[in-house]
């Protein structure tokens, strides 16, 4: 694949921009301008009838029919608009509950929870490793009491909730079910999504408790339990987002994410589950970066690959098993700290690509997220961007408007072919778990990230306001969210108080049952649910996993 990915012809460095660092590389004759997507797919100036494949119609299908290249539903967004789901979480459960109510008042149609680092890593707020991290990057949840506060006043049978949690996901799932019980609801009445995608944690996001195989086993426990008990719940959100943010190209994001999906399906089938019993509740999550057409092609290629894989490789018979339903988020990594108002434009363009790609649900980032967690004002502009797309632009009126475009179909085909080649390579390594254990996707992504940075520094890739059209003037400062510094102390006290007041005998019995279950191959969900009902904390349950399965330390390579 080509290294240089000049999207615009090189020209003399802009007077206002930083000079390209690699001036020496341009000595001699000026390089031919190259036109490529961000993934490095070469582009022609124009696409014509000659680029159209003879079997196009078969590869497209009708909207709402196999292989779903065009859309999952015959009438697209006319049947149902995408869910506007803004990811939120900071400080205490109380702080975030207030933000949830604010967002619902502003017209979001689904909630999405961001947890803080200790919660993501399975530590209570009072653990020494949590020092300085409590409530900083999301909401701090250590106990069932915190979870009740988080969803206070929110009817869990009416509002769907997504939870971005992975390593201790089974604990948060159990807490959510337990909060539902307190609202008088059965698990079957709860709708939403738990991310619970550990493969992409080892590949990209790097939040884990145990080594890969026990974590994947617990993911499969959740898929199995949800298939039997929570028909409205997405038991996993197989995520490309973090893979992309860590440096992958769109083509790599597509390939590694679908390979992860294949990995989970294989593990479920190995356990003896019927593919049509769980596959309809598998969901996906894409990043949406700046390369407009490539992003749209990615969504279309993903649907086609998944439908074909599920039907032909896994023998799924239920059309719902073939349908790749997805959430999308605009690319945090594309935002700039310099000239932050420009981010509003980036987010709008990325959101448009997600909608034209046919996403089922969307988060739009706030302009200030390279500086801190977003303020209420910034979040509102991000949500309004989606509302403008939905209600002012008319883009939701017609299904897959790029369908049949010479260019879009060629790009969709190329993305598909690249992803399938990578998936084949992973299959040859023995599957995605083996590939992750040998660090293959991790290394590919780190290499892409470094290559991208070098291109930026050589001026081959333009970032407006950073390496071109930079401003010497003092940066416009925008308000930044401040986290209450006292949160750590207060949260630690809440944990201690729960531990001091719970029924100790009931807690001990539930923990012992869970410990025994960890040593067996039983499904852990019922045991974690009992432990949570007995007020076991997130940290205590995660400690049991550490004890049973060991801790994971990644080889430090770069």
């Amino acid at each position: 694949m080509a290294n240089g990915r000049t999207q615009t012809p090189p020209e003399t460095p802009a007077s206002t921009g930083a000079a390209p660092a690699g001036a020496a590389a341009r000595s001699g004759a000026p390089a031919e301008p190259r036109f490529e997507t961000m993934s490095g797919i070469p582009l022609k100036a124009v696409y014509t009838e000659a680029d159209r494949r003879a079997d196009l119609q078969e590869r497209l299908g009708e909207p709402g029919a196999f292989p779903y290249t065009r859309a999952l539903f015959p009438e697209g967004y006319r049947t149902r608009l995408w869910t506007m789901r803004q990811f939120a979480g900071f400080g205490s459960a109380d702080d975030t509950n207030q933000r949830f109510h604010y967002l619902l008042g502003q017209g979001v149609t689904g909630l999405s929870t961001a947890f803080d680092m200790p919660t993501l890593m399975g530590y209570d707020a009072d653990h020494p490793m949590s020092l300085g991290e409590v409530g900083r990057e999301g909401v701090a949840i250590s106990t069932l009491e915190d979870m009740e506060t988080l969803f206070r006043g929110i009817p869990l049978d009416k509002v769907t909730t997504s939870m971005t949690i992975n390593a201790p996901a089974i604990v948060l799932l159990a807490m959510y079910v337990a909060v539902g019980e307190k609202q008088g609801l059965k698990p079957s009445q709860l709708g939403g999504t738990i991310q619970a995608d550990m493969l992409k944690e080892f590949i990209a996001q790097k939040e884990w408790i145990c080594p890969p195989r026990p974590h994947v086993k617990i993911c499969v426990d959740m898929i199995e339990w949800c298939a039997a008990n929570m028909p409205k719940w997405n038991s996993i959100s197989i995520s490309g987002y973090h893979i992309r943010e860590a440096g992958a190209t769109a083509a790599q994001e597509l390939a590694f994410t679908l390979a992860d999906g294949i990995g989970y399906v294989e593990e479920c089938v190995k356990r003896g589950m019927d593919v049509d019993d769980f596959a309809p509740r598998l969901s996906f999550f894409w990043d949406v970066h700046n390369d407009f057409f490539e992003e749209i092609a990615k969504f279309r290629a993903a649907r086609r690959i998944w439908a074909t894989t599920m039907r032909d490789r896994f023998g799924a018979k239920n059309p719902r098993s073939w349908m790749l339903r997805t959430h999308a988020q605009t690319a945090g990594v594309s935002l700039t700290a310099q000239q932050p108002l420009n981010n509003v434009a980036r987010v709008a363009i990325q959101a448009l690509a997600a909608v034209l790609g046919g996403t089922q649900s969307l988060h739009t980032n706030s302009m200030d997220e390279t500086l801190a967690l977003p303020t209420e004002e910034a979040v509102t502009v991000a949500l309004r961007t989606q509302q403008i797309l939905a209600y002012e632009t008319g883009v939701a009126n017609v299904v897959d408007p790029f369908g049949g475009s010479y260019f879009m179909e060629a790009l969709t085909d190329t993305m598909e072919a690249e992803a399938l080649a990578t998936i084949k390579r992973i299959d040859e390594m023995g599957g995605i778990i083996a590939a992750v254990e040998r660090g293959y996707p991790q290394k590919e992504i780190a290499d892409s990230a470094y290559r991208f940075q070098q291109q930026v520094e050589r001026g081959e890739r333009v970032i407006v306001g950073v390496n071109k059209f930079a401003s010497d003037a003092d940066e416009l400062s925008i308000p930044v969210l401040k986290i209450d510094p006292d949160i750590e102390r207060r949260q630690s006290e809440r944990v201690k108080s729960v531990k001091a007041t719970r029924d100790a005998a009931r807690h001990a019995a539930a923990m012992k049952a869970l410990r025994d279950a960890c040593m067996s191959d039983k499904n852990l969900v019922p045991f974690v649910l009992d432990a949570v009902r007995a007020h076991a904390t997130l940290g205590e349950i995660s400690d049991l996993f550490r004890e049973a399965y060991g801790v994971y330390r990644e080889p430090a390579v770069f």
């Binding site: 490793m129 790097k206 390279t370 967690l373 940075q453 930044v480 770069f558």
Partner: protein, 147 residues
Amino acid sequence: MARKIRVLVGKAGLDGHDRGAKVVASAMRDAGFEVIYTGLHQTPEMIVQAALQEDVDVVALSILSGAHMTLFPRVWQLMRDRGLNDVLLTGGGIISKEDMEALRKLGVGDLFGPGTPTGAIIDYVRGWVAANRAGKVGSASGTGRRA
């Protein structure tokens, strides 16, 4: 021939965002530095211990989790306690200008935010180490403060 510049690139705390740390580590390696990368989820104690054992000129921390106002001061204090007085403590991440200024007053060196060219970090480190070896700076901030 002068000793190569030795840099410890560290990820402190629970933060898993390692794209920046790896990119900076790769750029420093390509610039001729000897780079030791700690890997993820290190405590301040582990980082300072590694800095001591590896005899580095520079400790560069990457923190994108918002814990910088806790972790930088702790690493800074442990470096004083262990006698690492002529080692630069620098780093980067999602850190507001206000917080960068507060850390600078403590004695931490320059901190770098999103969009910084790796060349700027390399130039800064090279300049600091040259001045330090020539005996021109006494602490990480280059203000001559000694703990």
